[in-house]
């Protein structure tokens, strides 16, 4: 029930966002209509940050003996998959925005490169999740990898402040926390877009977690059957 409600809420808010961003908001004085890409590029990046943050927290909860439960490992993996999808989307949207405004699809700029690094770190993490070993061993290995990969998230965020980049500084979460947007609709739509994508994240990770639970149930059964078969095989020659 909650799942259906979440899905409907995120669908409706994304539809409202599309109307706000494509029709209601005025174009930027300098960039014109291309600036409308901001209302998908920024929340997409936000969703990726959020997803990897959840993966990191879930990994800590799995590593800490007092809170350890298989559930945290599944949540960490589910959230990372959603994060990878949206990191890829952020890169593509940034490229589409960079072409008309900067004059280039891609630059080996600190923000762009660290984001690409983030993408590959978590693709590597997802591959690591599918390697063998016992659930405990794999869980530990992946949780540690998730924490190492997460170190890149603050590097991505502050890259625009630390290095000289073609990419602009943050409009909202800059060091002075000074919202650099004029009028009502621009900042409103940006905030709304972040809320809409947060709902979308909740919907997607919830669904992905259900899949993870189903997969684990199947794995457990396969293991059980393999053990039984071996036991039978051992009994026969004796």
């Amino acid at each position: 029930m909650t799942g259906k409600l979440l899905g409907v809420a995120s669908g409706v808010s994304l539809a409202v966002l599309a109307v706000l961003a494509l029709v209601v908001v005025p174009p930027d004085a300098v960039q014109g209509d291309a600036q409308r890409l901001m209302y998908v590029h920024v929340p997409t990046a936000w969703l990726a940050y959020l997803a990897f943050f959840v993966t990191a927290v879930a990994s800590v909860l799995w590593l800490w003996p007092r809170t350890r439960a298989p559930h945290w490992d599944l949540l960490a993996g589910s959230s990372a998959e959603v994060g990878v999808v949206f990191t890829g989307l952020t890169l593509a949207l940034g490229s589409l925005w960079g072409r008309p405004i900067w004059g280039t699809w891609w630059e080996w700029d600190a923000r762009l490169t660290t984001t690409l690094v983030l993408f590959f770190l978590y693709v590597g993490y997802l591959a690591l999740r599918r390697t063998g070993a016992t659930a405990d061993e794999r869980g530990k290995r992946c949780a540690i990898a998730a924490l190492i990969a997460f170190a890149d998230v603050p590097v991505v965020h502050f890259s625009v402040t630390w290095w000289e980049t073609l990419h602009q500084d943050a409009t909202v979460f800059n060091p002075d926390l000074d919202v650099r947007m004029e009028g009502f609709w621009m900042p409103f739509t940006l905030v709304f877009s972040v809320l809409a994508f947060t709902l979308l994240y909740a919907t997607l990770v919830r669904t992905r977690l259900r899949l993870a639970e189903l997969d684990e149930g199947r794995e457990e059964r396969e293991l059980q059957r393999a053990i039984e078969e071996r036991r039978r095989a051992e009994v026969v020659p004796a």
């Binding site: 005025p26 174009p27 930027d28 004085a29 300098v30 960039q31 600036q35 901001m38 008309p100 405004i101 900067w102 004059g103 280039t104 630059e107 080996w108 700029d109 600190a110 490169t113 660290t114 690409l116 690094v117 590959f120 770190l121 693709v123 590597g124 993490y125 591959a127 690591l128 599918r130 390697t131 063998g132 290095w163 000289e164 073609l166 602009q168 500084d169 943050a170 409009t171 800059n174 650099r180 947007m181 004029e182 009028g183 609709w185 621009m186 396969e222």
Partner: protein
Amino acid sequence: MARRPRARYVAVAVACLVAVVVMIRLMADNTVFLEPVSEAVAKRDEQGSRAFRMGGSVVPGSIRETGDDGRDIRFQLTEGGVVADVAFSGSPPDLFTDCAPVVVEGNWEGTTFVSDELLIKHGNEYEPPSDTAAQECPEEPEGVR
């Protein structure tokens, strides 16, 4: 369970790690140093013909097309009260106009900066279009230094 798929996933994980190292090295190698106009001009003699990036804002009214095909453009960049002549060949982005915050990649040839790559470094400020078009550049573009 087959061993094969596991080995494949390990290979993917390792390949990703290698890709990360390569990308960091690419960034370190390809990050051409960005100099604001004032520093680029001050260091003109020691730069020689070495390629670097220069950042500043376009001096209003300085843009002139010298070729028929619109690919050869001369203009001036300013920053910190210093002005530099730039000769650019290529197609500039739409936002290349008076006062635009520009990054050009190239090298000095005498007192002219010769470039074939021009990028716009846009700031993080947004506003709806206003009726009063500014004639003077509002301020030094942020981020070029």
